[in-house]
Symmetry: C4
Subunit: 449 residues, 4 copies
């Protein structure tokens, strides 16, 4: 039988040792969970003893909390459903614009137009989060720019009959070698979050890379795929290894084809767009007297997500994950040939070349340059491992360039989140725009591969 | 005796197996023609059982249909001449501005000024078609930019008395080595289309390269030249070889000096300017309910022209054309030295270096770079073959650079179409502006050749 | 005794075989002079039988015509002094703004500010003439840009006591190695024209290079210098060698230190700024019916100045000038190392590296690059000959770079004409701004020389 | 007992041989001091016999004059305290905006934002002085730009536990290797001038480099540091060596860790921003008749500061300073590898790579390029000497790049002065923003060091 609980009662459980929180009318006991919260302890502590539905719904799917805490932590239901808060989310300034106020999807011809549009239709918080990078965003700009510096030398009269754009990765054949870059908080772009990503990529003959910090539970996301459809899992290793062990146990039950361990973010980088947004919010909320204190808090929040990520990761941790799970491992965040080689020597099944979309160290090299560095220095590992790459892919020709230079597949981050503002339809349209005329892609493919 | 036919009767013949169409008051039987339509089957099927005069006149000269179908396909005349449609074309928004509303031709000093002007005086459709390229138009920009990176080292005191700007190509001497790049749909720029191009180039001592998809029939175009004036023919090979065979038969009767086979467009590229224009038109025409369906149709139309072009062209097809016609063959669309060499080995008389004005694969190299690549890797073929080049030529100095680097002649596409908005006079003025002071051109010529 | 002549009488002498013209109230017989007119025959023929005072005064000093024609050609005086025309010049739209409407000279800190100002205070004709170059003005821009690409590596602690900025050229010591680039029509910038240039350069311890097409006679200009002050003479060789012979005879009487023969302009280049200006004027003047004819005339005028310049100049002509005059010869317009070497082998005393301020062939290399090419390929001739260079010098550091790279002296064209809009004071201020703090110039000098 | 003196009496002592001046109500005897005035003799002579409080307070701390002249030169006090002048300074247009009118310090996220703000909040004089450079400011721009061209190749999985950002310089350990570039006139940015600089750098575990031309006396500045806190001293050598000897005697009493001798400014460079500002002021003040004379004076003032700096400095002077003081010597202004090597050979303890923030010779190389030149040519001296570098450092990643390339520490000039507009708080915030997230800095550090 479900207990009915008064808000006054909830308010009393507001300490680290005794922490209740209301989410969508359900009262949960969060005692002990804060340090394991993937988004950081700080932000969750702020809501002990309070109703956190609004912020929760912005970032998480409704089932995620039950999946994370388990039914034992469900205390009961609030004596009055906080309907205002739920509905206010949809109409709040934090929400993206509804589809009816956006241009017809068919009039969007490429990913740059999705980006242009996203600035207008996403909430300010979502725009700051998705578009922002580190320091002066130089690496982000280089990611795109370097693709443009690479030229094709198109061959002619070679015969195109058997052109084919499929790619076989770890034994499974995908129709196109294009996946989502596993970024957090997809729900900021659209309420369906990773569910839409899963459905759209699967429909295109590709699949989803599920992120550790997904808005929905991994079980919900995998259910959104067709039965037995393959998928990948991206892992942030927690400072508390037992949290990671537990996570890997539940992930492995779902049989991921590979685990991609992110290693390029030992600490959270300086994301000024985020900080500027949070400071702006703090300044609006705070009374004048508390201004300065709040300002600092704003900055802390923008950085707090990193508390759950291990800073001192080493190769032995990778070997531990491999042995624990028995699943093929990719290293995500490779930024120089030496580390690509070390990944091979440490028994990894693949590498994922990435500078975190320019969100880790600014003035790190464009990721396509890292691929070329590997090709120049240890080309043999390109044959031995799967090679994923993200950062700067905007055109079908960019996909082709990465493949021609030795990649197995490419991943897209920001552009897919911008397309996701239209939900699953947007994602499908974005995937389609990457291969605008299948035959030409196939043709050039064969020519260069 | 000519039959008089009611529109109601025409309306009934609207299927693939029984297709009538009205053009300028004449009823034609198109049954079986759609797949051979150079502009694609889709667009023509839309007009089965209808009066297609308006769209026909935008794109084609009045005699073209008779030339394509033959008199046997003429069913009769409509019982009422559709004068409204014909006149509406001239005044419609699809028409270019009349000459009286344009600046005096003499005040236009160079090809850039023609381009600037063209954006204002051409119809939106024509501007989208001529100015647009593929994806981000990077190759189009590089075509121009690379000419600017190449510097002269002018010599002095060498004596200029015998300077000469003529060029001998396949045994015939032309006053200037400048031709039109054979692009389709010249009538979009001016009602006289290729007729004006032919008259103006011949007047300048050059000649026309007649495109497969000309607005007028090749017979009409050749008649516009002085008697026995040489000309070239550009060929798109149809997926149905018998269509091509028939075309070559009628072309060869006119004795072209060479056939230039386009090989760089196995499929139609992603031309966003075109697509944006067509979607815009579709959105205006469609009622709201059919919006989405129409949108997709818009995109299809923009790409449908490619259906008539063979995707699987190979070197054996080139040899077949050579043997069938006995006419010297150029390969149009050469983009790397290896293929230039293969053209030589396959017995071609020439190559035509081109990236289709940046309209084929985006981020293909600037065409002048391809010429330099050939010069560096197999310079001997520059001596053995005729070498045409287009893409980025805007100044007399650009012509000279291409010649100095080994080309036999240059071709201009967009600039000549912009000039053509003034008809034959505009084309002559454009040709004149390419050699602003004959003597200096000749001088520098000798110096570098 | 002076004849008094009616304008009606003058009007009758309007043919090539019998040509009178009025200038400032004096009637001259110009029969046979037109082909020798340095500014071209066309423009002068237009004024046969007419009063040409207005256009004459814009371009020439009052004494030039007597010097060119000799007293024998003076027919008499007009019966009424054309005072209106003379005064109208001062107030016409062709005049530069008076000094009182310009900013205080002392507030102009560098040559870029003179240029910015010149666009506002010069007449439209003068601005078009001075600022314009050829085609896209790419060489003009490169001239400046390449100086900026060259970096110093300043040394320290070397002792600066004996720093010195003087330069010895052909045995004479000048306080600074900075001269005027000998451009035509100085009077367009200021009524004192070359007189102001001569006085200002001499005052700074430098001197003037007198151009063939000076606004004042060379005798007047040399008189403006201190007694026995050295000077140079720039020569355009006329198609009619006897004209050149006569000119050299009178020049040599004044004992120039060297004759700088311009060889980079066998024909007049395409100067669009000039043509645009002339077409604009023609369009204003002409009635609508004559529009087209006039337009073409506008273009012809802009190019007519070149008719007096020999197109077919060769090294034997240089040797002829050297032998005829016995004066040291410089070749002006050297643009590659081979020709620099040939100048040396042909017994020249110096070279003058120049691309005519980017007014000859566009996309010729920046002149400082030519100097570096010489240094790399035949450095020995830098020691054997005097080396002048113009094009792109805007800062004292640019002067120093040219000297450090092997030049004997630099010349400035446009910047000095812009400064000349303030007359002699402006020129002195410009020279001063080139060596803003004498000591620092001297210091760095020693360091690099 | 203090004498009370009338202004009329002061006015009489207005010659070089008998010079009185009033500062903040005190009458001083300046006879013989002008040539030793660090800011130049000219500017001080203008105030002989007058009250100079206003200009003095803009530039100097109240105690500086007593420290420079000694109590013996104090004549007495003015009979009326010039309170108007003192207060007028605070409210004058020469003052920076008060903190209350500036944005909250916490909302400034990086040094570029400090710069953007400084243009608005500093007085025009201060902005011209701090932001201006020489000629076209090309070196200033290159300083920043070259850091952006240098890319990291981040390593992963190396273990970050013992990361550390401290640096040991001449045996003392500093928490961060970041110091102030010792520029003059800190008081133009904030009334606390170098006192705020000293307190903020010490608080961050770094220290101040005290400039010769400080706004406060060195004794006052050192007192602002914690007891026995180390500091450095920057020396301009005076043309009059006895002035320098006296200065070094008093500095050495305070035990600086090193003396940094500036050698890159033998004469004052052409700082157009300063000149433009001074001319503007002169034009406002002067009556129309004196305009021209005043204009020239404006320029002189902008350059007068250099009169106190020795132009003819040589290595023997460095050895003399070393022997006289017994303190480690750095050469400040090293701009090529040869001079770095000579510094080592002459027994210097360190070099300070600098182009004076682009304020010495324009188009000198970016300072980080000089560091790379040393590394390529004489890397051994990077191990033997301390290497400081300034110019273009704006981000924590820039600091890291300099350290990775061999520097011991970096110095910041303009950015710290802009931050100083908020006083000590601003400086602390600026230092903090350079190491936004301590751990990531430390991490990458270890990786690259």
């Amino acid at each position: 039988m479900t207990s009915i609980i008064l808000l006054e009662e909830v308010n009393k459980h507001n300490t680290e040792d005794d922490s209740w929180m209301v989410v969508n009318g359900v009262v949960w006991d969060l005692t002990g969970f804060a340090p394991r919260h993937p988004g950081g302890a700080d932000i969750i502590q702020e809501y002990f003893g309070r109703d956190a539905s609004k912020i929760y719904n912005e970032l998480h799917g409704p089932g995620l909390i039950a999946s994370q805490l388990g039914e034992k932590k469900r205390i009961g239901v609030l004596n009055k459903l906080p309907t205002n808060e739920l509905s206010s989310f949809e109409s709040s300034e934090n929400a993206s614009k509804p589809t009816s106020e956006k241009p017809a999807l068919q009039s969007i011809l490429n990913l740059y137009e999705f980006e242009e549009l996203a600035e207008k239709v996403l909430s300010p918080r979502a725009w700051a989060y998705f578009s922002g990078a580190t320091n002066d965003s130089l690496t982000t700009a280089m990611n795109i720019d370097w693709y443009r510096q690479i030229l094709f030398r198109p061959r002619v009269l070679t015969g195109m009959k058997n052109a084919d754009s499929s790619a076989t990765i770890l034994g499974h054949k995908y129709s196109i070698p294009i996946f989502n870059a596993p970024a957090s908080m997809a729900k900021l772009a659209h309420p369906d979050g990773e569910l839409a990503l899963a459905r759209a990529t699967a429909a295109a003959g590709s699949t989803i890379i599920v992120p550790t910090m997904s808005s929905f539970s991994i079980e919900e996301i995998v259910e959104a795929l067709p039965p037995d459809h393959p998928f990948f899992f991206q892992l942030y290793v927690n400072r508390n290894r037992s949290v990671t062990e537990e996570l890997l146990r539940s992930v492995c039950k779902l049989k991921p084809r590979a685990i991609m361990v992110t290693v390029d973010l030992p600490v959270f980088s300086k994301r000024e767009a985020n900080e500027r947004y949070e400071i702006g919010v703090a300044q609006k909320q705070a009374s004048h007297d508390f201004q300065e204190k709040i300002n600092n808090k704003g900055k802390d929040q923008a950085r707090s997500a990193s508390n759950a990520i291990e800073s001192d990761l080493q190769w032995k941790d990778i070997r531990w994950i491999k042995e624990t799970t028995g699943v093929p491992i990719f290293i995500k965040g490779i930024q120089c040939a030496t580390d690509a080689y070390l990944a091979y020597k440490n028994g990894c099944a693949g590498i994922y070349i990435s500078n975190h979309g320019g969100r880790a160290v600014d003035t790190a090299p464009a990721s396509i340059l890292t691929l070329m560095e590997i090709q120049a220095n240890c080309p043999e590992i390109l044959a031995e491992m799967e090679v994923f790459i993200d950062g700067g892919v905007r055109r079908g020709t960019d996909v082709l360039k990465a493949i021609c230079l030795g990649a197995s597949a490419v991943c897209l981050g920001r552009p897919f989140f911008y397309a996701l503002s239209y939900g699953q339809d947007g994602m499908e349209h974005a995937l389609e725009s990457q291969k605008p005329i299948p035959i030409i892609e196939k043709q050039t493919w064969l020519t260069f591969a």
